[in-house]
């Protein structure tokens, strides 16, 4: 079995959803748990897990898990 991406683990923990349901297409539109409150919690958790600091521009752009992974990769995180 392939190991789950680390991003999926963070989303699963913050949103309280099973990690296997997290895909690149996961977004606030198809995931009711991803509300504005959890959006804030996600930023805190992602920054802690990947040891990065996200700018407001990056945060605003992160509308799907796929974009989140792209943003993190662009910041030099390889293992997302």
């Amino acid at each position: 079995m392939q190991a789950l991406p680390r991003v999926a683990t963070v989303f699963s923990e913050v949103l309280g959803i099973p990690p296997e349901t997290v895909s690149d297409e996961t977004s606030p539109e198809n995931t009711p748990q991803w509300d504005s409150l959890n959006a804030m919690n996600l930023v805190v958790a992602l920054e802690g897990a990947f040891n990065v600091r996200l700018s407001t521009k990056e945060i605003v752009s992160m509308r799907t898990v796929g974009i989140v992974r792209k943003v993190l990769r662009a910041k030099g995180v390889t293992d997302v």
Binding site: E13, S36, L37, A39, N41, V43, V44, A45, T56, V60
Partner: protein, 611 residues
């Protein structure tokens, strides 16, 4: 798992780790525990001038961890004033606690900015904004009987002026201080308003570490997790204090707790208790203990030592701040402390779960927790430098109001010990007679209600119904024509016990029947015939008011067994499991060894001198 008592905040664990734990704990509670309960045990409504969702887990998780079943509802964004005007629009009508949170820059941004631009008139306009808020709060007070908490605003975060700018002492800094002071002064007349000091929280965390600029600009949520952790812990502590009676007594170890070193080995000259560290740290801890005592906490000692060695330190060591007189009970011997602690509770006539046990020895703490889980056992930090900062976070002794009774408690306890000595030399009846008991039974006045509410919420043992009420609910009963609230003051030749008994009686529309809603006596006056005299005093009032029947009920709890036989013992007839009844004519007059005066309240400040 986080410590519900908040002591964990002083540990090394990172803010991020603690914040993550709290959020996870709150989510578990919200998803698993809360839905399984038919009714939440504690309904809290929060209205804030910014996005306050993030505060909820930080306040809710500690409350859930402390055994409450909180449900926290948030009013719509920036509806603080509207919530004051009609709280039922935002919250459940059965809400227990309403928390209002504002920031100065949210309610008076224009005025503050103009003031900083040199418009002196703007200061007056800022005052007018405060006036509007204060009148909204007054309106809420009149319509809502539960607890109201309002914050003191932190230093503004997003203004051009900065806390370190050179004009700050006379500019924004001075304005902030004066607005906070003005708000406090203007709200001073609002009954039972509790202040949630976010200014102090910001001071604890630091202004820069409190403000989250990204969350503010993206979500209108201005605070960091570090700030929210402290703010949530404080709010949970305040809400807990509305529901739980404070603990009554701190039971202290001696060696490496009150002083550094071991008196039995190091001797009087060898223990650490001077003007050098670590002696200074122990002296600071003793100062904290004296502060507690002044707030009504009794101090006791449980130490494995030769008793004479311990008292020698108290009497001869110049570094001691605690005096022998400050100690209300002690067990200094070589027996297990778990055997000694019930003796201390007994000597003080308080329940064992009113005790907090503080010791530096992990084995003693473990053993106490195992044998007496009801005693809150606290391990003193290993490094003396951590003692004060960690132990002063203890919430066990939290109380909003320190009454005259609280301040005199320890002195009253000394009078009690003199009574004990006398009682051992006389028969029961002679003892009673020689005490010269004097009862003052009176219709409660507004100034008595703090103490009466305190008794209502903390009396566990001699309490027929154990109905808990907030100060405002008691106020409403006092003003209702269908209720009378009576207080009882007891004194004897050794001193004054203070206001120690409460009766709330419901009166039928035709005045013929009185029903005991509440009857309670503090346990320190029990067993001297006071119970019987209290009933006689009430019967006298009821008969004078034209009543013929007295109804009562006994609602058993885990703790009120001492009151279980009160009704049958005094001739009440059982109607069903809980309800009892007696004809007022059958209640005898007061016995001759007790003097009854019917006075009006003397007010809490004029309270009797200590024994």
């Amino acid at each position: 798992m986080f410590e519900p008592d908040g002591l964990a905040a002083a540990t090394e664990e990172s803010v991020a780790a603690r914040a993550a734990q709290i959020k996870a704990a709150w989510r578990r509670y919200s998803e698993e525990t809360a839905p399984s309960k038919a009714e939440p045990g504690l309904r809290i409504g929060i209205a804030a001038s910014f996005t306050a969702n993030s505060l909820i887990p930080f306040a809710g998780a500690p409350l859930a961890g402390a055994g409450f079943e909180p449900s926290i509802k948030l009013a719509p964004y920036n509806q603080v004033f509207q919530t004051c005007l009609d709280y039922k629009k935002s919250f459940d009508a059965k809400c227990d606690v309403i928390v209002l949170i504002y920031r100065l820059e949210d309610i008076a941004l224009e005025e503050i900015t103009a003031f900083l631009h040199g418009d002196a008139e703007a200061r007056r306009r800022a005052s007018a904004k405060i006036d509007i808020f204060v009148s909204a709060l007054t309106g809420l007070r009149d319509s809502f009987a539960g607890a109201i908490m309002v914050n003191l605003p932190p230093f503004p975060a997003t203004l051009p002026a900065h806390g370190l700018s050179l004009e700050n002492p006379l500019g924004l800094g001075a304005l902030h201080r004066s607005l906070v002071a003005e708000f406090l002064e203007k709200t001073g007349g609002i009954r039972g308003l509790r202040f949630f000091d976010l200014d102090a929280v910001q001071r604890e965390c630091g202004r820069a570490a409190s403000f989250d600029s990204r969350q503010w600009y993206l979500y209108r949520q201005p605070f960091t997790d570090a700030f929210l952790l402290e703010a949530g812990a404080l709010l949970s502590r305040m809400i807990t204090a509305t529901r739980r009676a404070p603990k009554k007594c701190a039971v202290l170890d001696c060696d490496n707790t009150l002083w550094g070193g071991i008196i039995g080995e190091d001797g009087l000259g060898g223990i650490e208790l001077g003007d050098e560290f670590p002696g200074t740290a122990y002296r600071d801890f003793q100062r904290l203990l004296l502060y507690w005592r002044q707030q009504g906490v009794l101090l006791a000692i449980a130490s494995k030592n030769n008793e004479a060695d311990v008292w020698e330190v108290f009497e001869k060591h110049s570094g001691m701040l605690l005096q022998r007189d400050h100690i209300s009970a002690w067990q200094i011997n070589w027996n297990p402390k778990s055997e000694n602690i019930p003796k201390i509770a007994q000597a003080l006539n308080i329940g064992i779960d009113s005790l907090v046990f503080i010791d530096d020895n992990p084995l003693e703490i473990d053993q106490m927790r195992f044998v007496h889980p009801g005693v809150h056992s606290i391990l003193l930090p290993e490094d003396p430098a951590d003692i004060l900062s960690q132990i002063q976070r203890l919430a066990d002794f939290d109380r909003f109001e320190v009454t005259a009774e609280d301040r005199q408690r320890a002195d009253m306890m000394r009078a009690e010990q003199q009574r004990e000595t006398l009682s051992r030399t006389l028969t029961k009846e002679d003892f009673r007679r020689s005490l010269g008991l004097r009862l003052d039974f009176f219709l409660a006045q507004a100034e008595d209600l703090d103490r009466i509410t305190q008794l209502i919420n903390k009396t566990n043992q001699f309490n027929l119904t154990t109905i808990r009420r907030t100060l405002d609910e008691v106020h409403q009963l006092m003003n209702s024509p269908s209720f009378r609230i009576f207080g009882l003051r007891v004194s004897d030749k050794f001193g004054d016990y203070g206001l120690t008994g409460v009766i709330i009686a419901g009166i039928s529309p035709d005045q013929a029947e009185w029903t005991l809603d509440t009857l309670l006596l503090s346990c320190r006056v029990l067993g001297r015939g006071v119970e019987t005299a209290l009933l006689a005093a009430l019967a006298r009032e009821a008969r004078a008011g034209g009543a013929t029947q007295l109804n009562a009920s006994f609602i058993p709890t885990a703790k009120n067994a001492p009151a279980a036989s009160f009704l049958p013992d005094h001739g009440f007839q059982s109607l069903d499991d809980n309800r009892w009844r007696i004809a007022l004519a059958q209640i005898p007059e007061i016995c001759s060894s007790i003097t009854l005066v019917r006075g009006v309240s003397r007010g809490r400040e004029s309270d009797a001198s200590p024994a």
